[in-house]
Symmetry: C2
Subunit: 343 residues, 2 copies
Amino acid sequence: MAYAERVSDSMSAPSASVEPSTVAELGESAVLARILPRLAPGDSAILGAGDDAAVVRAVDGRFVVTTDFMVHGPDFRLAWSTPFELGWKAAATNLTDVAAMGARPTALVVAIAAPPTTPVAVLEGIADGLREGLAHLAPGAGVVGGDLSASSVLTIAVTAFGDLEGRAPILRSGAQVGDVVAHAGVRGDAARGLRLLFAEATDASGEPDRELAAALRARHPELIAAQLAPSPPVSAGVAAALAGASAMLELTDELARVAGRLAEASGVGLDLDSARLGDDIRLALAGAEDHGLLATFPPHVTLPAPFDAIGLVVDDAGRLFVDGAPVAAEGWDPYAGWDGRAG
Amino acid sequence: MAYAERVSDSMSAPSASVEPSTVAELGESAVLARILPRLAPGDSAILGAGDDAAVVRAVDGRFVVTTDFMVHGPDFRLAWSTPFELGWKAAATNLTDVAAMGARPTALVVAIAAPPTTPVAVLEGIADGLREGLAHLAPGAGVVGGDLSASSVLTIAVTAFGDLEGRAPILRSGAQVGDVVAHAGVRGDAARGLRLLFAEATDASGEPDRELAAALRARHPELIAAQLAPSPPVSAGVAAALAGASAMLELTDELARVAGRLAEASGVGLDLDSARLGDDIRLALAGAEDHGLLATFPPHVTLPAPFDAIGLVVDDAGRLFVDGAPVAAEGWDPYAGWDGRAG
């Protein structure tokens, strides 16, 4: 089922549970018994959840691994995101990191720390979002294990694995002068969505508001989805590797900042073409959380879909340009970017 | 360097930093630049931290994986544990889960979410504890990647990997009637340590107290270390597999509860011998967090060190006995076991 249908489903019929119950009332074992059947271990699981550890296939004798936190407050607001969206986004962001190495995602492990008062339906929704996000973005990949803990702050930690299928990983350091700079995914939509949420889905005191968010979602479904439940181009990672990408990075941070990192690691400059960056160039460069892929390809390579050429690799080590004019990388810091609120 | 020496070092000279500084003051990149040099990627890393994901060797085409949270409040108190101990314990508990499959630990990824006001020295201490815990308990294993996030609650998520070296994983379900029940590790010491901390290292209002904890540590170094920085028998996992263990589980939870799980999964009964359980049988059975290994071995196998025989596998499916008398499994639930305090 596609993301939009599932969100619509989950909003009209929030939970299958008859009795409302919290994780503390139900206890760890009963909560796990409600969550695990909603998750599939996937094609790479040799041994899934249920013992001290899982066992996962690593066909070529290596595995790609990345880990990422989503924390209530700095990373999401419960008044804005549905549990389904939290699970979907946790899967999507980690799958993109695996894809950015040129690997095919194989499996996740998921650790959740939740306040004792958390309704079990919230964890069920997160599990549903994980499952559907995996099915949509990385068919065949599954959840092979996890952990359930108590905390005063809802926190989700996903660790994702991938298979390089015998290829070398695509590093940030391989770009060569003369290569084409290419981008896959949306540009600026996640930032537009977040700006709308802060502008139009907060109450008079600035707190996130659930009803205002629902109304906003109806008006701007694509921009809100880009922020709350992104659908990054996960399969484009393997396609880029097969096409011969020389370097690749994932775009959690701003395009300008990530391009700067690639330029610095590769000892080259990147010159982006403003005509390829859309109507709002500033937002395309400085909007974070799009979770697209930035890659470089040798000249004359036919770019695999959905990559677009957006510039050229030039000879000025570590520097970023737009239409030949130098640009500063703008960055977001997790400690500077959070106002301390939850919501 | 052994655990005791390092704790003593870290208590007399808390940090090499001249200026006190928080993670928010320093910013993510500078914090990572202070932490990463304290960690080694280990022998199994093909590509360590620094790109979108790491690449790890999985020589036999499979890897073992386990993930676990440590959350300020339910899982540790900052007034009791040093940062070094937090890092050591995060490594130790996850390494034991890998060992309990009969695997050799190869690598960890570590995600840390910390309040913006956290001194960088705390994260440096956690990194030092991770490094020394790995060096002491699983030489050759290293930290291949991680994530640093903001949260109002200090939270550490470790995901650990292991190599089965061509062997089948040792499951909880393989015990056979007539097998010997064996145990490796301390029995009840972690619970004794925790009981002492609550009894003698809290102030008049019940809050954890740093100075009382330091005094207690001097009086009962082994029991406090068993709770705050355990040294589980990690290498005994591979030794058990090589000796032909038929089933194995890790002892985060109480011996009685874990024995019950093994009995149920294997469709057998376990009859423990009280004479082998030490002076305080109740505590040996009901004390959690010892992080030892419970295994069963076919009769006539010479038990590998440091396993001790503590009972026999009998014919009463799913039941636990001591000296032939039925015993109830006592358990701890993360949501029931936490009073909501941090400290």
